[in-house]
C-alpha cells in the first residue's frame, strides 16, 4: 500500500473468518463491518469518537472502529461482539450483564462488552475505580452505569461462572 489509492483490496480476519474485500479508502471501519460484512452488532452512536458503541478488539486492543479507515485494518485480526460467543455459549460477562440487568435498550451493550472484555483481559481483578476507568469511553444512556459496574465486578470476583 505504498502508493496512494482511492480504492483498495483489504484482507481482514473477523471473528476467526478471513474476508477479502474491495473498499473505498474513505470508508470507516465501522461502516465496513456493518454494511460490507453485515456484522451489525457493532453500533454507531456519535460522529466524534466519544460514545464507544463501535468498540471492537483490533489485534487484541480495544479501539473505536469509527476512528479508523477500513484500509487501516488490512491484515488485522478483529473481534466484534458477534465473536464473543461464536457457538452461542455466552461468556461470563454476557451472562453477568443479563443477571445484573446491566442493559436496557442494548444499544451500547456490544461496545460496552468489548471494553469490559478488554479490561478483564488486561486486569482480571479491577477495583471499582478501575472498572469505571475501563468503560469511561463507552456512553450508556439507560443504566447510569450502576448495574454495568456491578456486573463487571461480579465477573471479576468470580461470582459468575
Amino acid at each position: 500500500m505504498a502508493t496512494p489509492a482511492r480504492e483498495l483490496t483489504i484482507t481482514v480476519t473477523v471473528n476467526g473468518e478471513v474476508y477479502e474485500r474491495e473498499v473505498e479508502a474513505r470508508k470507516l471501519l465501522v461502516h465496513f463491518l456493518r454494511d460490507d460484512l453485515d456484522l451489525t452488532g457493532t453500533h454507531i452512536g456519535c460522529d466524534t469518537g466519544n460514545c464507544g458503541a463501535c468498540t471492537i478488539l483490533l489485534d487484541g486492543k480495544a479501539v473505536k472502529s469509527c476512528m479508523l479507515l477500513a484500509p487501516q485494518a488490512d491484515g488485522a485480526t478483529i473481534t466484534t461482539v458477534e465473536g464473543l460467543a461464536p457457538d452461542g455459549e455466552l461468556t461470563p460477562l454476557q451472562r453477568a450483564f443479563s443477571q445484573h440487568h446491566a442493559l436496557q435498550c442494548g444499544y451500547c451493550t456490544p461496545g460496552m462488552l468489548m471494553s469490559a472484555t478488554y479490561l478483564l483481559q488486561q486486569n482480571p481483578t479491577p477495583s471499582e475505580e478501575e472498572i469505571r476507568r475501563g468503560i469511561q469511553g463507552n456512553i450508556c444512556r439507560c443504566t447510569g452505569y450502576v448495574n454495568i459496574v456491578r456486573a463487571i465486578k461480579a465477573v471479576a470476583e468470580g461470582e459468575v461462572a
Binding site: 473505498e24 474513505r26 470508508k27 461502516h31 456493518r34 454494511d35 453485515d38 456484522l39 451489525t40 452488532g41 457493532t42 453500533h43 454507531i44 452512536g45 456519535c46 460522529d47 466524534t48 466519544n50 460514545c51 458503541a53 466484534t80 461482539v81 458477534e82 464473543l84 460467543a85 452461542g88 455466552l90 454476557q94 450483564f97 443479563s98 443477571q99 440487568h101 442493559l103 436496557q104 435498550c105 442494548g106 444499544y107 451500547c108 451493550t109 456490544p110 462488552l113 471499582e128 472498572i131 469505571r132 476507568r133 468503560i135 469511561q136 469511553g137 463507552n138 456512553i139 450508556c140 444512556r141 439507560c142 443504566t143 447510569g144 452505569y145 450502576v146 448495574n147 454495568i148 459496574v149
Partner: protein, 820 residues
C-alpha cells in the same frame, strides 16, 4: 393508606410477577443479535441524506439540485417545493395563533432553525449521498433571529411564522382555589423574580432511523423505524400525506433508547415515504448525532417569572402564583401540549390549595421541542422544589421540615388536587425518611458548610411520575380537539402446537416489555415466562394497536400490562371452556391451568395439555362440542382506563391515572475555588406501587437519575446569538460517563394503585428528581457556608456556581420576602 393497601391481596403477588427474572430480550442483545433500525437492509435501497440549513432564520431564494442529480449513483432528490405540492401541512394541536403554523417534511420558503432540512438526496451509498448533498446549491437570504424566549414577543422581534403574525404559540391562565384569599391570609410572601429551566434532552444513543418501502400495487408504505409512538406518527402523517392510516404500516424492532425524543420523527418519515414512492425503491435514512442534536426533540426550556408564594409563619404553604414562559423552538410538533401536561402535577407533592399559573408558550429560532423524559411535569416540579428550598432558606426554616409539613399525607390518599387530579396512593414522608437514612442525614448534616476548600451541602428532590395520560387534557388547550382517555392493546393466543404467542401495541426502547408481559401471562396461564413468546416490537399488521399505542408517558405497567392481562384472562377462560367440554367437567370453573395443562380440579388425572387444546381448536375442531365452537384461542384486549373528559371551563379534571413517587437525597461537595460540583453520596427512593419486575424498576430509577445528574451539571443545548447550536455533538455536549456517575443507593416502598387490578403504576421518568436534588444541594452548600446565593437555573456548570460563590448577592437579588 400505603400500609393498608400493601396488605390488600393483589392477584399477581404470587408466581412470576413480582420477581426479578432476567429479561427475555437480553440473550439477543448481549450477542449483538438485536435488530435496530439501521441494521435493516433491502435490495436496491437508496441512502437518504438531508441538506440542512446553516442559518437559524433565512428566506430560501432558490434550490438547485441539478449538480447533485448529475452524479452517477445518485437516485434522486426532494425539495420543499415538491413537499408542499404532495402533502398538506401537519395537523396543529394549538388554537390560533399556533394553529396557523404551516409545518412540512422539509422547509418551505423559509428556514427557522439551524439544521432544518431543506432538501433530501438519495444515492447508492451513504458517502455518495452526502457528497451529492454538498452539491445542492441553496441560496439564502439571512433574517434576524430570536433565540431568547423573553424577547420573542417584543415588538421588534423577528416573526418566525408570518402566518401567525406573532411568535406566540399558545397562552392560557390556570387558576384554582382562592389565590387572592391565600395571599391575604398569609404571614409572608416570598417573591422570586425569575428562574430558568434549561434546554437539554436525553440523547438516546441510537439516533432516529427508518427503512421505508412503497408498494405500488397497494399504495401502502411499510415504515420500519425506531419511532416510539406509531399511533401519534400515523395520526400526524396520514392526513398530511392524504391517505388513510392503514396505508402506513409501522414496524419497530429493537430501539436504542427513546425517552420521548423519538416521538416526533414524522416529518423525516414523510420525506422518506415521498422519496420511496418517487424513486420506486426502498429508502434508508439514518440520522447522524450532529443532526439529532441540531434538529430533534429538545426538552422544553422554561422560564418562571414573578413567582409569588404565600406562606404562614410556621412554614405552611398556602399557595403560589407565577408566569411560565415556555420556549417551543421553531415548530410545534407535539406542542403546545407541554402547556397543559404540567398540570398533572400542579401542586407537586404539596397540600397548597391555591395556585395560579399564567402560561405562555413562544416560538424561537431553535430546534423544535418534543417530549423528553419527565416531559413538562419535570419543569414544573423543579419550580415547586425550588420554591420549597428558597422559602425554607429565606425564612430560616429546615428544608426537610418544610417538606414534611407540607407534603400530602399518606392517610389523605387518594388525594384530589386543586385542579381535580387524583393522586392514587403514596407516602411521601416515609420515602423521604428512607432517603435521608440512606445518606446518613443525621451525621452528614453536621458536615455542611466550609470544609478544607470544599463547600458541603445536602439536597432533596421530591417528585411525582404521573403515568397514563388522559388525552382529554388536550382539550384544555384546544376545546375543539376530539381526544380523550387512553388505550392500549395486546393479543394473547394459543397456537396449533400449544405455543403461547403475545403481541403488544407498544414500541419498547429497553423497558423490558417482552419480559414483564411474559411474567403476567405466565401467572395467568399457569406456565413459565419461557413458555411465553412475546413478539419483539410493534407491527401494524398484528392488529394489536389502537389510537394511543406506543411507549411513552410512563404507562406500560398500567395500560400495556392491563391489556396483556385482559387478553390472557380471555384466553384462560377459552382454554377452560374447551377443556371443560372435552374433559366433560361441569363448568369451566372446574378447570385449573397448571404446568401447561388444563386439569379438572376434582380429578387432576383428567388433564389436557395446551398442545392438545391448540390442536383441537385450530386443526381438529370437528370433534369440538358445538357450545365451544366460538372459541378462537386468539384473544385481543383493549385496555381503556377509567377517565372522564375534564371540565374545559375550569380546566379541572383527572389528567392521569397513576402517580409514582420519587424522593431523592444527595450530598455534594463544591470546590470553592473553581465551582466544580462533586456528588459524594446519592440515594433514590421509589414508590411505583406493585413492581412486576423489581430489577427493571430499579434500572429505570438508575437511568432517570443519571439523566437528571447530566442535566443538572453537564448537559445543555446552548445557542449563540445567531442561533447556532454550540453543543451539536458528544464532544461539546458532555453526557455523564462512568467516572462522572456516583454509585446510587436505592430503596422502595410499594403503595399499590387502587385504580387498576394489578396495583401497578407507570414509572421510569423520575420527574427529574436528580435535577431538583442537586440544585437544592448547591444552594444548601452555599447557604451553609454563609453565602446567601439562590440557585436560579436548573443547569449549573462550574462557572455558574463559581459566580454564585463570588457574588452571592447577585442571585440573592432575585428574591425578596415581604411581611404580609
Amino acid at each position: 393508606m400505603t400500609s393498608t393497601v400493601t396488605e390488600r391481596k393483589v392477584e399477581l403477588e404470587v408466581g412470576f410477577a413480582g420477581k426479578s427474572i432476567p429479561r427475555k430480550e437480553d440473550k439477543r442483545l448481549v450477542q449483538g443479535q438485536g435488530v435496530f433500525a439501521d441494521d435493516v437492509k433491502r435490495h436496491g435501497m437508496g441512502y437518504l441524506h438531508f441538506v440542512r440549513s446553516p442559518y437559524a432564520h433565512a428566506r430560501i431564494l432558490s434550490i438547485d439540485v441539478s449538480a447533485a442529480e448529475a452524479i452517477p449513483g445518485v437516485y434522486g432528490t426532494l425539495t420543499g417545493e415538491e413537499v408542499a405540492e404532495l402533502t398538506d401541512p401537519f395537523f396543529q394541536i394549538a388554537t390560533p395563533p399556533g394553529a396557523y403554523v404551516r409545518d412540512y417534511a422539509l422547509a418551505v420558503g423559509k428556514v427557522r432553525y439551524a439544521g432544518e432540512p431543506v432538501a433530501a438526496v438519495v444515492a447508492e451509498t451513504r458517502e455518495l449521498a452526502r457528497d451529492a448533498a454538498e452539491l445542492v446549491e441553496v441560496e439564502y437570504e439571512p433574517l434576524p433571529v430570536v433565540v431568547d424566549a423573553r424577547r420573542a414577543l417584543d415588538d421588534d422581534a423577528p416573526i418566525l411564522h408570518d402566518e401567525c403574525g406573532t411568535n406566540l404559540s399558545w397562552s392560557g391562565v390556570y387558576e384554582w382555589g382562592d389565590v387572592e384569599g391565600a395571599f391575604a391570609a398569609c404571614d409572608r410572601i416570598v417573591r422570586i423574580k425569575e428562574l430558568h429551566f434549561d434546554r437539554f434532552n436525553s440523547t438516546p444513543l441510537e439516533c432516529d432511523a427508518a427503512l421505508v418501502e412503497y408498494d405500488r400495487g397497494t399504495g401502502q408504505w411499510t415504515i420500519t423505524t425506531n419511532n416510539q409512538f406509531p399511533g401519534f406518527a400515523a395520526i400526524m402523517m396520514a392526513p398530511a400525506m392524504r391517505v388513510g392510516t392503514d396505508k402506513l404500516r409501522f414496524v419497530t424492532h429493537d430501539i436504542g433508547g427513546g425517552f420521548g425524543n423519538k416521538i416526533t420523527s414524522h416529518p423525516q418519515l414523510v420525506a422518506c415515504c415521498l422519496l420511496a414512492r418517487k424513486l420506486d425503491r426502498p429508502i434508508q435514512w439514518t440520522e447522524w448525532r450532529t443532526e439529532f442534536h441540531q434538529s430533534m426533540s429538545h426538552g422544553n426550556e422554561r422560564w418562571f417569572q414573578d413567582v409569588e408564594v404565600a406562606v404562614t409563619a410556621d412554614g405552611t404553604l398556602l399557595g403560589f402564583r407565577c408566569k411560565a414562559l415556555d420556549d417551543a423552538g421553531a415548530y410545534l410538533r407535539y406542542e403546545p401540549l407541554g402547556g397543559v401536561i404540567w398540570a398533572q402535577v400542579s401542586p407537586g407533592l404539596y397540600r397548597w390549595k391555591n395556585i395560579r399559573v399564567e402560561f405562555t408558550q413562544v416560538m424561537t429560532n431553535k430546534a423544535p421541542v418534543s417530549p423528553n423524559r419527565g416531559y413538562s411535569r419535570m419543569q414544573h416540579l423543579w419550580l415547586t422544589e425550588r420554591i420549597i428550598d428558597i422559602v425554607a432558606h429565606e425564612l430560616g426554616l429546615d428544608p426537610v421540615e418544610v417538606r414534611k409539613r407540607n407534603y400530602i399525607k399518606a392517610e389523605e390518599m387518594p388525594y384530589t388536587t386543586p385542579n381535580g387530579c387524583v393522586y392514587d396512593s403514596g407516602d411521601y414522608a416515609r420515602c423521604l425518611d428512607i432517603a435521608l437514612d440512606l445518606i446518613d442525614y443525621e451525621r452528614v448534616k453536621e458536615r455542611r458548610g466550609r470544609r478544607d476548600g470544599k463547600l458541603v451541602g445536602i439536597g432533596i428532590g421530591s417528585t411525582l411520575d404521573s403515568g397514563t395520560n388522559n388525552f382529554g387534557q388536550s382539550t384544555l388547550l384546544n376545546p375543539e380537539l376530539q381526544f380523550s382517555g387512553n388505550n392500549e392493546v395486546a393479543t394473547v393466543k394459543l397456537d396449533i402446537f400449544g405455543e403461547i404467542v403475545v403481541t403488544l401495541g407498544t414500541a419498547p426502547q429497553g423497558q423490558g416489555h417482552e419480559t414483564t408481559a411474559a411474567q403476567v401471562v405466565a401467572d395467568i396461564l399457569g406456565v413459565t415466562p419461557d413458555d411465553v413468546n412475546v413478539r419483539r416490537g410493534h407491527d401494524s399488521y398484528w392488529n394489536s394497536h389502537a389510537g394511543f399505542s406506543g411507549t411513552y408517558a410512563s404507562q406500560f405497567a398500567v395500560t400495556g400490562l392491563m391489556a396483556v392481562k385482559g387478553a390472557a384472562d380471555k384466553l384462560a377462560w377459552e382454554i377452560r371452556r374447551v377443556a371443560a367440554a372435552v374433559l366433560e367437567a361441569e363448568s369451566p370453573d372446574d378447570i385449573l391451568l397448571e404446568g401447561g395443562f388444563a386439569k379438572r380440579k376434582d380429578n387432576p388425572e383428567a388433564a389436557l395439555p395446551f398442545m392438545a387444546v391448540g390442536a383441537i381448536v385450530n386443526a381438529n375442531n370437528a370433534i369440538l362440542p358445538l357450545e365451544v365452537r366460538d372459541v378462537t384461542l386468539n384473544c385481543r384486549h383493549v385496555y381503556v382506563p377509567p377517565f372522564q373528559p375534564p371540565d374545559k371551563e375550569r380546566k379541572y379534571g383527572n389528567l392521569t391515572l397513576t402517580y409514582a413517587t420519587q424522593i431523592h437525597a444527595c450530598v455534594i461537595e463544591i470546590d470553592e475555588e473553581t465551582g466544580e460540583v462533586e456528588i459524594v453520596d446519592y440515594a433514590a427512593v421509589d414508590d411505583c406501587g406493585v413492581r412486576i419486575n423489581p430489577q427493571i424498576v430499579e434500572g429505570q430509577v438508575h437511568g432517570a437519575t443519571a439523566h437528571g445528574i447530566g442535566a443538572a451539571l453537564h448537559e445543555t443545548f446552548a445557542y449563540d446569538e445567531d442561533g447556532q447550536l454550540l453543543t451539536a455533538n458528544f464532544y461539546e455536549y458532555h453526557v455523564p460517563h462512568a467516572l462522572d456517575m456516583p454509585d446510587l443507593k436505592t430503596a422502595y416502598i410499594e403503595s399499590p394503585s387502587p385504580f387498576n387490578d394489578l396495583g401497578t403504576k407507570g414509572m421510569g421518568e423520575g420527574g427529574g428528581a436528580a435535577i431538583h436534588a442537586i440544585c437544592a444541594a448547591i444552594q444548601d452548600a452555599l447557604r451553609s457556608a454563609g453565602l446567601p446565593a439562590v440557585v436560579y437555573d436548573s443547569h449549573n456548570p462550574p462557572e455558574r456556581v463559581w459566580r454564585m460563590i463570588r457574588n452571592p448577592e447577585e442571585s440573592r437579588s432575585l428574591v425578596e420576602v415581604i411581611e404580609a
